[in-house]
Symmetry: D2
Subunit: 162 residues, 4 copies
């Protein structure tokens, strides 16, 4: 069995919160990346997606698993501004960097379009080599997600020792 892997598309971010500088895919090479795409006024993101991303942050070591939020606003643009997002991040105590997906032509922002996301929340898994390894719209169980992350970590470890 063989899977045709493709590199994770570039991120287009206009502004970062909770990061010293831009967080690029290149800078995360060597770590498994969990990207949580959300909108601050999306109920499923608030009740499920973001708490799960925070649990991932609290469970895995930061030098092996990177957790990154991406604010992919595709509706209510006037309401979900960067100013509003900053207050949201503060109030919900989001403990990982969050980027603002850059607006493109039309309502859908650029990174969201590049990944062909269907909505929010969307969870994206990228392996230590920068390959796109999973993308789920809606709810993912913690058991399945923990297993998926550990599998990518095991691959990364095997690569290193090879």
């Amino acid at each position: 069995m063989s899977e045709a892997l493709r590199a994770a598309p570039q991120w287009h971010v206009s502004q970062w919160f909770g990061a010293a500088g831009p967080v690029t895919l290149e800078s995360l090479r060597g770590r498994v990346v969990v990207l949580e795409a959300f909108q601050m006024l999306c109920p499923g993101c608030v009740s499920h997606g973001l708490p799960q991303a925070q649990r991932v942050r609290d469970t895995f070591p930061e030098d092996r698993v990177a957790v990154v939020g991406l604010h992919t606003v595709f509706e209510h643009h006037q309401a979900m501004t960067p100013t509003a997002l900053e207050a949201f991040i503060h109030e919900y105590r989001i403990g990982f960097p969050v980027g603002v997906d850059e607006s493109g032509d039309g309502p859908i922002p650029r990174t969201m379009r590049a990944y062909a996301m269907q909505g929010t929340p969307t969870l994206v898994l990228i392996d230590a080599a920068g390959m796109l390894r999973g993308q789920s719209f809606g709810q993912v169980s913690d058991l399945a997600l923990g297993a998926r992350i550990a599998t990518l970590l095991a691959e990364a470890g095997a690569e290193r020792s090879a």
Copy 2:
């Protein structure tokens, strides 16, 4: 035992959502009123206060119990604008009228100050005669709240038949 009752302070609302016109305390006379004061970026309001207010709306008949939301923004004013609130109400499917508490001198809005609320969420109970009968900051249990509402309803009924 006797309780010195005071009339519920007037509401100062600059804008209503989900209502044909202004919702005044006078217009609600004869009904028990559950007022849910909240901020759209307050986690406890989103996870507890507003869902509970919605359950009250779904449990009691509308002609006997009025449920009203009040957006009492006392922090992050730039983030929690009426435009943002409107999107929030839409996304969270809030099924009762919501007023925007009018800004006053300083960060605390006028109605919030008149009721001396300590924060959000705050649940206020007003009886059918317009008297202030309860005010709780933080979580209230459904059992206790259901009992309190029914007690006020029973009083209103007794008054009517007297």
Copy 3:
């Protein structure tokens, strides 16, 4: 509108736990009674019915609202013996008296049959005068239950002052 009330049927209990002596309906006259009929191996009783009965116990004063459990075993009789029930009450820290419904002819015990209960959990409400005022099989919301109890309490109070 008028409701034809009937007296709550007698309880037939072979053994009591958590009570000094037999708990009779007569001895509870003057108090609102919440009767929780359950089976210790019924998942809905363990996850919903019994915790709710405990919340009622913790919310209302004991001299006005009585909470009583009734072990109505109608299946797996060999498994749900009084010995097993006693361990269950201990482990789940049930904080109200529990009676063992007396076995009758056939699998259904006597009190369960007298009340024509359809299964477990069943919640029964009896007013301060001993009248049967409500019976629900399955889940009841805390808001609705709190309201129902308070309504019966208000009636009892009105009676007393009349």
Copy 4:
């Protein structure tokens, strides 16, 4: 870094439910084994341990991950008999084999003693080679458990291809 592994102690089971015959550690060689030690009247087992074991059963393929329950009764022996356990398994729809830990000298059953378990629920992880790889008393998060299982699966896969 190296970990001194030891073989998972033998299971001593007097009776199996939900299995065609005895489930031995040897017969599970080649699969990762999740052993859930519980007591049917232990609230934490009912609310947390057993539902988690069931989620493991539903998440991972049966030919790679075996889920086995072990009824380790160390208190209330009269209440938690095999007859009662059988009814419990039926009512809670436990979808994996459950063994009755054989009684030993004193209240603690034999397998529980061999594994030096401190109480229930206890979750035991055994790798595909039959080595004891983890044992936790109390709650384990789904994320951490999913990761742990996947790590053992990755090891088993690496071994096979080597």
